[in-house]
Amino acid sequence: MKAYLNPFLLYKTVEKIPTRNGYGDALVELGENNPNVVVLTADLAESTRALKFGEAYPDRYIECGVAEQNMMGVAAGLAISGKIPFVSSYAVFSPGRSWDQLRVSVCYSKANVKIAGAHTGVSVGPDGATHQALEDLAITRVIPDIIVCAPCDAEETRKCTLAAAKHKGPIYFRFAREKTPVITTKNTPFEFGKAYVCREGYDVTLIACGPLLHEALLAAEELAKQHIEAEVINSHTIKPLDGKTIQTSLKKTACAVTIEEHQITGGLHGAVAEFCAQSYPVPIEPIGMPNHFGESGEPDELITKYGMRAKNIVKAAKKAIKRK
């Protein structure tokens, strides 16, 4: 395990914080330091954590009502006139409902808009399938000139938000609803398009994004007990994918498992498979939603039901190794 990670991350008592908190904290920090940062929300100020910014900087905070398409367009107009807008809603609505506006008003118009998608993955839980974003990475990734990112914990989300304000161009990044383990520390590196190796190994590469990175690290520990050394990569940026880091790892391991709380088509698995097909073909096993909608239930129950646990990753890793 790399020294820059939380030393307690494999403990049962590991600290847990919702990733969206990192977004809220970073926004307030940005509000203080950058007068061009504007925050928009569509009647979800509290749960997207945009509210704190709104209270501190009411003149730069726009409550759009339940109207995500307009919100995305307004953000584009603000960006075209020099502002750095952060659009905050649930990912199923934005970019779910506002995809055309993201495509034309934001990306095609080269508008410097940051889109924050909350409540992603089945771990959204009791709200059920309609509110569990499992397609957001796919629908954003296919648009030219956008960065797509799934930070793994609150600290990485904070860094991602701060970095988003500095980058000139559209960025989509997603959060989870539940409290999830703190994996990184202030010293962990973060740069868009730069994956980092969390744990070194030579038998199989586990490529994860989002809070499920924690399950991947647990899986690697379990595999080690069975004398299989897994390399674990945090590929927080799905687009542009860090092919270089992934290929360097695959040259050692020659097989991979991708891990994401998203449909297994079109997201991280899709991106890695596309890269490997062109540059370095190896067997790749997917962990994610198998072409299925979610449902109501406790977050933990759903993660287990849909096979996104460390034990599932262990099984997938062994399968990938067999296919070498």
Binding site: G77, L78, V104
Partner: protein, 303 residues
């Protein structure tokens, strides 16, 4: 400054350019561009809006957003007559490599501020642009206070401009428009004026058959907008409405422009069939002849 008669003559030339562009392109929209030639002339050359091709990047320039971007031939022809683009560029409309794309975009530093095409998007962009001007004003106060308190070195662009957005009436079927109208009304966005091309047609037929919009004035009023109705071919009326809109203290303004689609070309006027197609060679010849004759009339009246 051009007189109203001179503006009318320019509008006529813009209509002729539209016919020539569409003929050369072999595809594109005829009725909307012809119908909006007078509004565009008033907007760009009438002297009310702060638009100057020499000040394309001036932070205080007024902003124009074309929301129903399929009528961009009229925008392009007007930009040529205002000095934003070379006139000879007009014949490259819709060709590979041309800045004059099938729907207008902001990639070419030619005075076009936004990308349009999918209907309903421009109005939201325009609101964002107008809000940006407002935020600059209010944040300046905030910034000054902040600087006094902790000598912070925040930099912010000062700007003071009006945003003009052009929309079609068929476009108003899009739900996004009404989301946007609600927000502008809520925010008392007096920095924004919208022109609606009320020409009563859309691709599939008359607007009141496809999706009735009336009572449009009452709808806008209910959304906290100030409404002015004008004859969209009367340049003086349009300019007066623009002046009034700019002086509004508390509301966004909508100028409902009653226009004749295909205006100036007899066989195109009020025909929804001409919404989305260009004239062929024969039709263009007749259209140009009609417009030249009409142009002659305007000119002789002026003399």
């Amino acid at each position: 400054m051009k007189t109203v008669k001179q503006l009318e003559k320019t509008a006529n030339q813009i209509r002729q350019d539209i016919i020539n562009m569409l003929l050369k392109a072999g595809s594109g929209h005829s009725a909307g561009p012809l119908g909006m030639a007078d509004v565009f002339t008033a907007l760009y050359l009438g002297g009310v809006a702060k638009l100057n091709p020499k000040k394309k990047t001036d932070p205080n320039r007024d902003r124009v957003v074309l929301s129903n971007a399929h009528i961009c031939p009229v925008l392009y022809a007007t930009l040529a007559h205002s000095g934003y683009i070379p006139h000879k560029q007009l014949k490259t409309l819709r060709q590979l490599g041309s800045p004059l794309q099938g729907h207008s975009n902001n990639h070419f530093n030619n005075g076009i501020e936004t990308c349009g095409g999918p209907l309903g998007q421009g109005i939201s962009q325009a609101i964002g642009i107008a809000l940006s001007a407002r935020i600059n004003r209010t944040t300046n106060i905030e910034q000054r206070t902040a600087q006094k308190n902790r000598s912070s070195k925040l930099e912010i662009q000062k700007s003071n401009y009006h945003t003009w957005c052009l929309m079609g009436d068929g476009e108003l079927d899009e739900g996004q428009c009404w989301e946007a109208f609600m927000l502008a009304g809520k925010m008392n966005l007096r920095e924004l004026t919208v022109f609606i091309d009320r020409n009563n047609i859309q691709i599939d037929g008359p607007t009141e058959e496809i999706m009735p919009l009336e009572d449009l004035t009452a709808k806008f009023k209910a959304f906290n907008w100030f409404v002015i109705e004008v004859d969209g071919h009367n340049i003086r009326e349009i300019l007066d409405a623009m002046k009034k809109a700019k002086s509004m203290a508390a509301n966004p303004t909508v100028i409902i422009c009653h226009t004749i689609p295909g205006k100036g070309v007899d066989f195109m006027e009020n025909k929804f069939e001409w919404h989305g197609k260009p004239p062929n060679k024969e039709e263009a010849k007749i259209a140009l002849h009609e417009l030249r004759t009409l142009g002659g009339k305007i000119y002789s009246e002026h003399q």
